[in-house]
Symmetry: C2
Subunit: 193 residues, 2 copies
């Protein structure tokens, strides 16, 4: 069965996401997070938070987006959210997505390449919600991990609030409201300045 | 917002799955896989393979099951699939699931505790497919990783074929057919005896 063989090849190739390192450490761990375990965490988080989206969303599409959203990093690596991403890097990710999905049946690859582009654009209600949830784990890692990446990269309170507030409140105002409270507590306890 | 606070607590608590070590190494890596990155891999794999299920399945339910199926390991640890699981261990996992979902709204916790039980029973078409896909990555890790865990645990060809053949073909005969071909190749090249 040629198609299943292609899907198994895909399953082997995407194993590489397990060695792409991110910029924050999971709560309680001294090592950095990888993009595969992040993709699980953010996908399950979106599922738990789906009822708090500002707009009507299709959670299955959101989950699909979040499962594949970082696959482009297999060729391009991870970029910290507070730095602006270059066009060159974005192109690398796009080419990587095309390369990975090439081994899959056309109906599948067409759907997922489109979903990846939709996520990147961040305009549809599904993409807006997915991109909002994607921003939450690094905040929790810092709040429960002595502000390690805020301190390392010298990220100010204003930058954290502006940069995440806009993105997260666009997807879920209720979620941002609660995170704002927790970030204020982080400021009070000196983790964030 | 008390409910969102509970969900954020859950998001922090399940971070612990990132430090639960499994029995095989991801393709190309020298370290063992953790259960969080495995959960991502198996969920995305199920999505790609959904059209090859023997029976009609609801892929959203399958994805939900696979995202949470290993959460019980946070308190119980991972068990190699070739050893029989004790009742004591199963009870630990069940209690862990109850503990984790306690911080979530009742509507959510009821749904996911039921899904976890359904997966464990493995009787519904969704659970049968999910449990079939869950068996595939360790095979790929061995096929593309010099049979490392087969050799370490002294697992014979017969055991690999019987143990996985039954489970995987029950979920997808077409998938098992292709895996059988690849396992025969592993036998020919001496990875599996």
């Amino acid at each position: 069965m040629e198609e299943i063989k292609g899907i198994l090849e895909f399953m082997v190739e995407i194993e590489k996401l397990k060695s792409v390192s991110r910029q924050t450490k999971p709560v309680g761990l001294s090592r950095y997070e990888n993009s595969a375990e992040h993709s699980w965490h953010v996908c399950l988080s979106a599922l738990m938070l789906k009822d708090y989206a500002n707009e009507t969303i299709d959670i299955t599409r959101v989950m699909k987006m979040l499962l594949i959203h970082d696959l482009g990093e297999i060729d391009a690596g991870d970029t910290i959210i507070y730095s602006s991403e270059t066009n060159e890097n974005k192109l690398k990710e796009q080419n990587c997505i095309a390369r990975l999905f090439k081994s899959l049946p056309n109906t599948i690859s067409d759907e997922y390449i489109q979903l990846w582009v939709e996520f990147e654009k961040g305009e549809s209600s599904d993409a807006i919600f997915a991109k909002a949830i994607d921003r939450v784990p690094p905040l929790l890692h810092n709040i429960h991990g002595d502000g390690h990446s805020w301190k390392k990269h010298n990220i100010s309170k204003d930058k954290v609030l502006t940069f995440n507030g806009e993105r997260i409140s666009k997807g879920s105002e209720k979620l941002w409201h609660e995170l704002e409270v927790q970030l204020e507590e982080a400021v009070e306890s000196g983790l964030l300045k």
